[in-house]
């Protein structure tokens, strides 16, 4: 996973609540068997509307998505995270994220930042008034900074440490091989098996 320490970029204010993962990446894109090439599928239906925020020329190259509450609801598809990253987003700010989407984002180095809805709206307003305005998301300081706005955010220490160092979860878990083997040895015999071994 790519490490995330600090990122500064222009924003896309997305004033919609309950942006579900079917909107982020529609199901027909899920037939791909790779982790890349999803950028054209990002918000595919909404991008057909010329006035959609992502189609506005001044939003080109923006890397910070500032979204309404309950972002990423619905399907567990990690493709939603890949689509946002493939398109160029480095971080998403919202007052609430769906649990599975949040977990997926943090495993891929897409930093999802939870801020109070009032601050999210202030960031959206700032970016709407000045599309060139930059937002800094600083994971080391756990802080979001923009003109006239400084807000701290929470992230559990373990997730932060993994993101800052770009660590692969599987390697960390495999360091506990002895614990896993010990657990396996004491599992009850009535637990089902899919295969005879």
């Amino acid at each position: 996973m790519e490490a995330f320490t600090k990122h500064t970029g222009r924003a896309v204010p997305l004033r919609r609540s309950n942006v579900d993962t079917d909107q982020i990446i529609p199901a027909h894109w899920l037939k791909k068997v790779t982790r890349d090439g999803f950028e054209d599928g990002l918000f595919e239906a909404w991008r057909k509307d010329e006035t959609f925020i992502l189609n506005q020329p001044e939003r080109k190259g923006a890397t910070v998505l500032v979204a309404g509450p309950d972002f990423g609801t619905g399907s567990s598809r990690e493709h939603a995270v890949w689509a946002l990253q493939n398109y160029g987003f480095k971080t998403v700010i919202s007052s609430r994220f769906a649990d599975i989407f949040r977990g997926n984002s943090l495993k891929n180095g897409l930093l999802t930042v939870v801020l109070d809805q009032k601050i999210v709206e202030a960031l959206q307003e700032l970016s709407e008034n000045d599309p060139q305005a930059e937002i800094t998301v600083d994971l080391e300081a756990r802080e979001v900074r923009a003109e006239g706005i400084t807000a701290s955010f929470e992230l559990d220490e373990n997730s932060r440490w993994r993101l800052l160092n770009g660590l692969d979860d599987i390697s960390i878990t495999l360091q506990n091989e002895a614990d896993i083997a010990a657990y396996e040895a004491k599992r009850p015999s009535f637990k089902p098996r899919t295969l005879e071994v």
Partner: protein
């Protein structure tokens, strides 16, 4: 202090606990399908890793599979590649796979329980958010992303932060004609699509205890639509009776040991939940959605709400956008909404009891002119059972299409889709924009409401059918 059911199951699966770290949890059953696994197998290959516990892993094909002409090559080349990729991965790594055409093929959340692989007190994961279905047996079951699929394949564990617990207590008894689907839609409308975020839901109370296993699966299935990764119901005699004799259920002494353990799996009387919601079953009636998220629902007897009536600005905006997308007017009676398509199926309502309920209402009646009705069993086995009971004939006689098993029109990854502007009454779980096909409009309903709607051509409940003629001699 006592523990909740969720806490008991969690504690029983902790492989490693350390200060400042997530718990490392052992996973008892890992279900795979073609959509969320290819990148995970790629990851294993790149790092030279194997599947740690093939005996706790099983795969089936469901999301992409066609429901017609299943003996012919799959027409969509991209879907074909994805299914072939799963077949290659299963063969290379040694994973048990039930492919299209196999008698055990079907929607992954229908297959696990019917094989008896889903049991009380287990941890069950799958790269699919409706894995919450399996919580109906009293286990912790939740959807995971592809990175976690790879993690479970490699280690049979997941590092997880302990969720909070929420009790959803449903008192009394569901009135006649009110189903598990109506109940869960009403719960989601009450707590909202984000209400369960960070929680495991435990459904309890007399109305829940009276439900069949299949109805319990319908409830737990849609926990994710309330924002909760998992929902669960304490196992009881209904659970044990469902499991006994199934292929992978414990046998002999193992059965006795298992039942003794399963009986301990209930929330202690002095346990405390982090949140509690109480619902009176008697107040419920058939429930449908009018909007573009599963929380935007109302009793069928109600009217399309006026967005101006919402105090919260983002809810008001969401309602405005939903009405625009759905092509509905504020104040319109929900019963006046005409549909072109009715879909009965999915991991929510594609089991035999669902098909029986729909068939009972369709028997001797006809699907309305201009309405297309698709009936898609949740698994090949459910399809065979339905045929043995003659349900397929009932559906076909009524003018419905009887199809092969799969996810089908729930998410339209296969050819079963809505055309732009088409409107469905669907027994599936999501009414998101474009979920069933680009520009398609979805109303989530129970199988009974789906059948009544098919006959009358507009959203309707079985009670509305009393006036519709039943063909003579049936």
């Amino acid at each position: 202090m006592g523990r909740t059911l969720a806490e008991k199951v969690w504690d029983d699966h902790v492989v490693r606990r350390a200060e400042g770290e997530p718990d490392l949890l052992f996973i008892d059953l890992h279900l795979l399908h073609e959509v969320t696994s290819p990148q995970a197998f790629d990851g294993l290959r790149k790092s030279g890793r194997q599947v740690r516990r093939l005996d706790l892993t099983i795969a089936t094909e469901d999301h992409n599979t066609p429901t017609l002409d299943i003996d012919k090559p799959i027409a969509d080349p991209v879907s074909r590649v994805q299914l072939e990729t799963l077949r290659k991965n299963a063969a290379e790594f040694g994973v048990r796979l039930h492919p299209l055409g196999d008698v055990e093929q079907g929607v992954v959340h229908v297959v696990g329980p019917q094989l008896g692989l889903t049991q009380p007190g287990m941890t069950v994961v799958c790269g699919d958010s409706h894995t919450s279905t399996h919580g109906a047996f009293g286990g912790l079951a939740f959807g995971i992303g592809t990175s976690q699929v790879e993690h479970v394949l490699a280690t049979q564990t997941l590092p997880l932060v302990r969720p909070k617990t929420m009790a959803i207590t449903v008192n009394g008894e569901l009135p006649d004609g009110v189903t598990a689907k109506d109940l869960i839609l009403a719960i989601i409308a009450r707590i909202g699509t984000g209400g369960g975020q960070g929680y495991v839901l435990e459904y309890r109370g007399s109305a829940i205890e009276k439900l069949s296993m299949e109805a319990r699966m319908t409830i737990c299935n849609m926990s994710i639509e309330a924002g909760a990764r998992a929902g669960m119901i304490a196992p009881d005699q209904t659970t044990f009776d469902y499991l006994e004799g199934r292929v992978h259920a414990p046998k002999g002494e193992d059965w006795d040991a298992a039942v003794a353990y399963w009986k301990t799996l209930k929330t202690d009387e002095d346990a405390e939940f982090d949140a509690e919601v109480v619902i009176e079953a008697a107040e419920l009636s058939p429930f449908v959605t009018w909007g573009t998220n599963p929380g935007q629902g109302a009793p069928l007897s109600a009217h399309v709400p006026d967005p101006a009536s919402y105090e919260d600005a983002s809810e008001r905006l969401a309602a405005e956008k939903a009405l625009e997308y759905m092509g509905l007017e504020a104040g319109q009676p929900l019963r006046s909404i005409k549909v072109d398509t009715v879909f009965v199926g999915s991991c929510t309502n594609g089991r035999i009891e669902d098909l029986r309920a729909a068939a009972e209402l369709l028997k001797g009646r006809k699907v309305a002119d201009g309405v297309r009705m698709l009936v898609v069993p949740g698994s090949a086995r459910v399809g065979l059972q339905a045929v043995s009971e003659g349900l397929d004939v009932v559906f076909k006689d009524a003018g419905a299409e009887w199809r092969h098993a799969g996810c089908s029109m729930c998410l339209g990854m296969n050819p079963d889709q809505l055309a732009p502007g088409e409107r469905s009454a669907s027994t599936s779980n999501r009414n998101f924009e474009g979920r069933q096909g680009k520009g398609g409009r979805t109303h989530l309903v129970s199988p009974q409401v789906a059948a009544a709607t098919a006959v009358l051509g507009h959203l309707a409940s079985p009670a509305d059918l009393s006036d519709a003629p039943v063909a003579a001699g049936v």
